[in-house]
């Protein structure tokens, strides 16, 4: 029987890995720096994710928010929204968590070489994009302009303030930020993220946009990019779906014939343009 000859895989067993640092980012977000046993590297591509688990609290897909150029450890940025993610916020340095992965289709960095990069990050969407931002910064000379457009609901939700400070100060990074609802101390721009796109001065043939944000954001960002005449082929986006296995088995993340966990989460826009239910 064929079943005996096929290479069977043990898909669901996590690697117990240690939290080596916890950074408090906002009221609802924390960054965890994690090291795999024996100093192994995760070997991921920017945009990929892991299945993170804490026994008794379940498992969930979490994007890797550090660049593959950082080895021996990797970052997860987690928003507390439920069973597992709330528990993560109670864990401390030295605690063990289960890691499976990396999974999914990340950004193909070879295709991005030499391009101007436009990062459109809505809210926690900055977390998955940060792996690519960090990568492009680590290989700065491989890329043209680096433009980061970032929007959050309010100033208290701004992720990675110290990194942002660096980005703002670097001459070779163009960083733009806005909040939906300012507080008394806010001096920056106010408005939804799409208001940041029209003023941008882009060389559209050379620019590749990478878009990640909450589900409602995509439609409007796409409209804004279209208005700038950015070709569809130059747009990549990462989609979020419920997923349990991360390896194309559990069925939850399917959008029509596409599996987000395998074909995504990073998609080339032309591939999903005609996919109903996708955006």
């Amino acid at each position: 029987m064929e079943a005996t000859t096929i290479q069977k895989q043990e898909l669901y067993y996590p690697l117990m890995s240690e939290i080596i640092q916890v950074d408090h980012l906002t009221r609802t977000e924390k960054r965890f720096i994690i090291s795999l046993p024996d100093g192994q590297s995760l070997g991921h591509k920017p945009g990929q994710f892991v299945e993170l688990s804490v026994f008794g609290f379940g498992e969930a897909p979490i994007s890797i928010s550090s660049s593959p150029t950082k080895t021996g450890q990797f970052d997860l940025t987690i928003r507390a929204t439920g069973r597992l993610t709330d528990k993560m916020h109670h864990l401390k340095t030295g605690n063990l968590v289960g890691i499976r992965g990396p999974f999914g289709n990340g950004f193909d960095v070879s295709l991005l070489k030499g391009k101007d990069m436009l990062f459109v990050c809505g809210g926690i969407g900055l977390a998955p994009l940060k792996s690519l931002i960090d990568y492009t910064l680590a290989r700065r000379s491989d890329f043209g302009r680096i433009i980061i457009v970032y929007g959050t609901k309010n100033p208290s939700e701004i992720l990675y303030p110290s990194e942002i400070k660096v980005w703002q100060e670097r001459p070779d990074v163009e960083f733009h930020m806005t909040v939906d609802r300012p507080d008394v101390n806010w001096e920056g721009k106010v408005g939804v993220i799409t208001t940041l796109i029209p003023p941008l001065d882009l060389v559209v043939e050379r620019t590749v946009a990478a878009v990640v944000g909450p589900p409602v954001m995509y439609k409007f960002v796409l409209m804004a990019l279209k208005a700038k005449r950015l070709p569809d082929e130059n747009i990549y986006m990462s989609l979020e779906r419920r997923m349990k296995c991360g390896v194309g088995k559990c069925g939850h993340c399917q959008i029509n014939h596409t599996y987000v966990c395998q074909d995504g989460p990073v998609f080339h826009y032309p591939d999903i343009k005609r996919l109903e239910e996708a955006i």
Partner: protein, 356 residues
């Protein structure tokens, strides 16, 4: 396929007579060769595949069981690992791959298993499923299609023997056992009490009761054009979202995973359960966004998986026509009727196109 072709094709196999009296003996013999599972009565008028304790309880003439054979390879509830909550360590849960003989299954049931094989082998081949799938022998039996069976219309005839080792066809004296493969040959020989049959056996025609207006080859084509059909909305009016059609489907395999700790709060297990795209939380993500909120889009997704998405990938329809989703749907939504309505919609469209 021509009915006479079937007779000829079947008669090419070696065949033996198992008299009605011999059947229990044969089952007892099978029990010496492995764990035997077969359809048995469950409640008043339903059947279920169960371990055979007593050969007398085995039923060979039955319309269908409640759960399909998938329950043996992808159990409704399966422990993946057990963990120590306090120390954050875990143990893999062994998958026991005993030798199993499935006795008296229908051709579409076998086909259902072959479809699942595809789903679990592709991409990342899953050990849990494939280990359970090893060492299994299937002995088929003929059946009389009822108004819910669509297998014939979908190209899986009653006498389809793919995947089987032996196929049983009822005759006056009992059953003719057609030997399909070596494993089947070994079983028949090991039993040793059967008489070889050399004359041609006339196989009774078993007409399908449910019909589909198109040849099944054309269904993926139909599904390319009915994404926006109003049929989905019509079904959604009756559909209750109970998920029966997913869970009992021969080829649905989606699952959910949950952790549970025991009351001592020391240990626990990670388990997976059957899940289905008709159910509420299936496509919900953080922030309570649900990407398939409407029952109409859920039914559409379910049937597109059966007739288009997986078909384009694998070349085979992923509906095997077992009829469970129609028979057990509390709202009496019938798959054959639905497909015919979609076909009508499609033809209507084509006509309009031509006129245009």
């Amino acid at each position: 396929m021509n009915y006479l072709d079937t007779i000829t094709r079947m008669n090419l196999h070696e065949k033996y007579l198992l008299t009605s009296k011999q059947i229990p003996d044969f089952i007892s013999f099978l029990k010496t060769q492995g764990a035997v599972y077969a359809a048995q009565k469950k409640g008043e008028q339903s059947y279920s595949y169960q371990y055979v304790e007593d050969p007398a309880n085995v039923v060979l003439d039955y319309p269908r069981t409640i759960q399909p054979l998938k329950k043996f390879f992808l159990p409704p509830r399966e422990e993946l690992l057990s963990f120590d909550y306090q120390n954050n360590s875990y143990q893999k849960t062994d998958v026991v791959a005993e030798k199993r003989i499935f006795f008296g299954i229908h051709s579409y049931e076998m086909q259902g298993v072959l479809r699942l094989d595809y789903s679990f082998k592709k991409g990342n081949p899953e050990g849990n499923y494939l280990n359970r799938r090893e060492n299994c022998i299937f002995i088929g039996v003929s059946y009389e299609p009822d108004e819910f069976h669509l297998a014939n219309a979908l190209g899986i005839e009653v006498e389809n023997t793919e995947g089987l080792s032996i196929y049983l066809e009822p005759v006056r004296e009992g059953y003719i056992a057609f030997v399909i493969d070596e494993a089947g040959q070994n079983l028949i020989q090991g039993f040793g009490k059967t008489a070889k049959v050399t004359e041609t056996i006339h196989i009774k025609e078993k007409p399908a009761k449910a019909k589909i207006r198109y040849h099944y080859n054309r269904l993926p084509k139909v599904f390319e054009h009915v994404y926006t059909s109003q049929v989905w909305g019509q079904i959604a009016k009756k559909c209750l979202g109970c998920g029966t059609c997913n869970l009992l489907c021969s080829t649905c395999y989606c699952f959910d995973v949950r952790d549970e700790v025991s009351l001592d709060l020391q240990s626990g297990t990670r388990e997976r359960f059957w899940d289905g795209c008709m159910l509420n939380r299936f496509a919900e993500v953080a922030g309570n966004e649900n990407f398939r909120d409407e029952l109409s889009s859920r039914t559409r997704h379910r049937l597109h998986r059966k007739f288009k998405y997986l078909t384009e990938e694998s070349g085979a329809l992923h509906c095997v026509g077992c009829g469970r989703c129609s028979k057990y749907c509390p709202a009496k939504i019938n798959l054959g009727t639905t497909i015919n309505a979609l076909i009508d919609d499609f033809t209507e469209q084509q006509k309009l196109k031509e006129a245009y």
